[in-house]
Symmetry: C2
Subunit: 362 residues, 2 copies
Amino acid sequence: MAAIPVPALLITNLPDVRYLSGFTGSNAALAITRRAARLFTDGRYTTQAAEEVKAAGLGVKVEIASGPASVAAIQWLAAQLGEQAAADKTTILQVGFDATHTTVAEVDRWREALPSKLRRKLLTPTASLVEPLRHLKDEDELAVMRQAAALGDELFSHILTIIQPGIPETAIAAELEYQARMRGAEGMSFETIVASGVRSALPHGRATQTPLPRRGFLTMDFGVILNGYCSDMTRTVYLGKPSIAERNVYEAVLAAQESAVAAVRAGVTCGEVDEAARSILRDVQLADWFTHSTGHGVGIEIHEGPRIAANQAEKLAPGMVITIEPGVYFPGDFGIRIEDMVAVTRTGGEVLTHSPKALIEL
Amino acid sequence: MAAIPVPALLITNLPDVRYLSGFTGSNAALAITRRAARLFTDGRYTTQAAEEVKAAGLGVKVEIASGPASVAAIQWLAAQLGEQAAADKTTILQVGFDATHTTVAEVDRWREALPSKLRRKLLTPTASLVEPLRHLKDEDELAVMRQAAALGDELFSHILTIIQPGIPETAIAAELEYQARMRGAEGMSFETIVASGVRSALPHGRATQTPLPRRGFLTMDFGVILNGYCSDMTRTVYLGKPSIAERNVYEAVLAAQESAVAAVRAGVTCGEVDEAARSILRDVQLADWFTHSTGHGVGIEIHEGPRIAANQAEKLAPGMVITIEPGVYFPGDFGIRIEDMVAVTRTGGEVLTHSPKALIEL
């Protein structure tokens, strides 16, 4: 709390709650003052909350609320600050909440639950104060993320033995997801993308019943959740023999991806990393078909900061884990994307994804 | 739009966008006036958005925004209303947005993107205006939801052949999820719950590596997404031979569940349905261990309105699809939950889940 500009915080964004308390349930509010922290949840989670919060060992107390958890939390915070103010005239009656994760209706509900004299002034919108802390992974978190990325590699290696013309894209997704589960994943970190043939031109082509073609690209973009942390990787392979033109585009995307990976280093801006990929594609007149940003932070959530996009001034810092995933898409024809996870270090980047990137023909 | 109290709406809640436009992508804002509707998304979705919006046939135009979709949408709405106001003095410059799904920070961002004279007055918080429309399923939607529920039944029937002592809970989850995919599901509608032995006392016990016991309850709560609609069902089975006490508790939960199912009918309040289950458990001194509400609406999202909970005055209406899922949980000992999906009709309820509910011993 020392670095936080308000005397108390109400945290309701669940990944933030998990990060600070260890609790993984679907209903929670975490109330923090400079003296104490209390987690509010409901009766479904009595046992789980006690166990998880104890295992995290951060000294958070659990309270089972009969009504909405966040309302109980704001009332507790108001009472705590009221007591402190009575004892110490310098206490400011303010509770920060994350304006980027709190709805207009929630704030109204919290206000209505407060004594009328606190209703106008207690609640103070702030930026997301916890999410930026999550961007910087410590050694324990990096160890888990290496494992998550390694499981992704295992799944890719396995799926190469399954791919063949005629089987539906959904069978590829099903097999990836089944093997992820059997190898210890809690689930997938996002809806598995399996896009074959002309569908590879859809950057977010979720698996459909479409049968894999005899000849064409196949893009697989998938990730697991392992011990609470997400992995994310993409490989594009070829069924049959690619044309020279197809191979050339693949090589350009790969060169762009490797250029951006090589640009990763603490102190470099996110825009510079994006530009490292984009400029390679610009040189070969492909930049117009690279229609998204180069990557994003990843951790407890599949999409965290920083954004690796054009002109982003934010600087990379040691401990950030980001994706590098340029792609080129020709609508109605084909598309290619290649993605690794990279941990930022002082001197460069540790690539967490180890699957081969040279074009695989199946 | 005729029934809506504002001349224009900005819709950013993705299930609502999907319901109104057919678009299923992960980034979208839908702008609606009394004259036109326009969907804003980004370059990743150029092809997909055109296809899906055309297939839905609701006359929505697609625009690919270079910046944030919702900012482009509010600017378009401001321009549209400005034009209308110039032609027709009675036009009110107001755009409604859903206060329950819009963050404080988003509203600030929209305001900043508006001309200064519109900044204060254009945006008007409203209740969720689209979600209540989604509660009432039409015949096409009911047909899809029957299929989703039937797929759940198929999976339950299949999983009974897999269950045996010693295999981990995650293997049960993996098999359910694999079979769901192979039988056409887009994915699961929520994280699969597989809670065995003492873990069955956790109402939301996600599958862990815990091996199934030789003797004890096993609760499986799972659902699929099929053609965009969610299913949801729970069955609790027994490995080995239950004690008389265990069987008695099971019979009580089943009686409570059947009592609530029998109470479903258009015009009945949600509180009355909840009470139909709760009173049965109260009669046998088990109500203190029924620590959650009886059910919830289900559709494009796994949790929609109405809430089937104590004292809820909202009345059931034909076309609503709800879950009925009472449970009893003894922490540190065992738990039992039984859940069906039920479609509300004028004269009763159509139970969509057909799996047997008499206690299965494996």
